[in-house]
Symmetry: C2
Subunit: 306 residues, 2 copies
């Protein structure tokens, strides 16, 4: 299977499930606690690996014991962490996912600015990026790092996938000219499109307008599901799965499955159903870490598509 | 200085300060993160040590890396952790203190039942308990462990201090017959007294009724402050300190300072002011860990008493 390199956030996830968040001054028992490798980049990398890709990660962690632990977990997941920078002076990012009642989450993010990627961090991973078959770039990272990653991915001829909302106009232009696939969730769509789609038909038009600017697949979230468009067609995907536990990580599983499916030669429409099925699996459990299986995903995507 | 042994909870504190807790589905940046030794027992032990006592701790942590870290921190604080049990099979207790907006906290407690003290855990620490000058027992621990600790403390002739709400009637009777000092906060007072004091005069009567049953000092919280009573007198202490940040740990600092002051030969009234001043210091910072200094405490207690 081909190689995917993910450029994005690596950190520590603390997932706390409570029956209900206590009121001011109150306390609540934690029903379940998970502490594990997390961050959008790591979650996307794990998803790609679970779907059979060789995966490398470009990101930043601290020199603290949390950094050591998350890198060991990523390596244990079969991910190449040789291009993850260990930066002293700040703690490894911590992402606290408070889940409860069922289906409702709150996210507390402790990400020191030093845990964001700089252009030089990406440059140091250039060899990895240039040899990749696909590069998945998180637009939440600072503009210079995004620019560097997009340039290296294009230079290497990789399938270039951009996820999220571009930081500013210059980044947006570069994304649209360099990326083969663009993905934005409901909250991010306006920043990527340049105007705010109001409904599903508007989102289809927005996706089509993105295709005119360069990408060959555009995937946009709407309140009701996702729109995936390609030259000459589009599909509107409902939110699959019943009784969601925690929406965290759904978008990461979506973009990872979309990327792997396209790399495997699936059509954009088929890849879109893989993506929707992967997202549905992640929202069925607390926390953002995926637990995907290629055969199961293929089956559930086919079932949903019928 | 004399030796204090604290019997109670040892764990890991994660203190997250946010401007405001996000609504359902939202996210918020963490303004400050602290990860450190915590739990009521550890916080009381640290406070006693900061006030100059030799301190030993009886509690339970896991065999996980968090357990190793909190014990190393306690040892670094100068606390004897030889009697802390390391129990395999469950994670070290985690106490998440969400602070924000200023002055408002929510506590999420993940304490596996295996992290509570059993009678045999306390029995293993009997040597330490019998040689102590003062023993501080947390009534939140299971009844058999509390019973064992109170018996060992009495047998050794220690100043015996019970903190909290007794689990049931049998524990309550043993507390009142064995303890020299009893302390309960507003929420715990009813379980200790046997009926619910309604106001400050009622709380004074409640404290006096406790003295008739054995203890020589009774300290009870009220909504407006604390009442400390001794045979022939009592004092009503206001909440000292301005602009509280986080109430977590106030009661632990209170009971620790009360204990050390009595051990040092202060009168109950003077000890009460030490306790109130110590509590005020802890509520001025996020998290339950105290940062006390004997001379500073003596001064602020004297100032408040005027």
């Amino acid at each position: 299977m081909s190689g995917v390199v993910v450029v994005g956030q690596v950190g520590r996830d603390l997932v706390l499930t409570v029956e209900e968040l206590p009121g001011a001054g109150g306390s609540a028992d934690v029903l379940a606690r998970q502490e594990l490798l997390g961050g959008k980049g790591a979650n996307q990398a794990v998803a790609c690996r679970q779907l059979g890709a060789e995966v490398g990660l470009v990101g930043v962690v601290g020199t603290d014991s949390a950094g050591t632990e998350v890198l060991a977990q990523a390596a244990g997941d079969g991910i190449d962490v040789g291009a993850v920078v260990r930066r002293p002076g700040a703690p490894t990012a911590l992402l606290v996912d408070l889940v409860g009642p069922r289906g409702v989450r709150r996210l507390l993010e402790d990400v020191d600015a030093r845990m964001l990627l700089g252009a030089e961090d990406v440059r140091a991973g250039r060899g990895l990026l240039r040899s990749a078959d696909a590069v998945l770039v998180q637009l939440q990272q600072p503009g210079p790092a995004v620019a560097e990653a997009l340039a290296a991915a294009s230079a290497g001829g990789a399938l270039t996938v951009a996820d999220g909302a571009p930081a500013d106009g210059a980044v947006r232009r570069q994304v649209l000219s360099a990326a083969d696939v663009v993905r934005a969730d409901t909250a991010e769509a306006e920043a990527l499109v340049g105007w705010a789609p109001q409904d599903v038909p508007g989102t289809v038009r927005a996706a089509e307008s993105l295709l005119e600017q360069g990408p060959r697949v555009a995937a946009l979230g709407t309140g009701e599901g996702d729109v995936v468009a390609w030259p000459g067609g589009h599909v509107v995907l409902p939110h699959l799965g019943e009784d969601p536990v925690d929406p965290t990580g759904a978008g990461d599983a979506f973009v990872a499955a979309l990327t792997v499916a396209l790399l495997r030669g699936e059509s954009p429409e088929s890849a879109a159903w893989w993506a929707a099925a992967a997202a549905a699996e992640v929202v069925g459990t607390a926390g953002g870490r995926p637990d995907l299986d290629l055969d199961r995903l293929r089956e559930s995507a086919a079932r949903a598509r019928r």
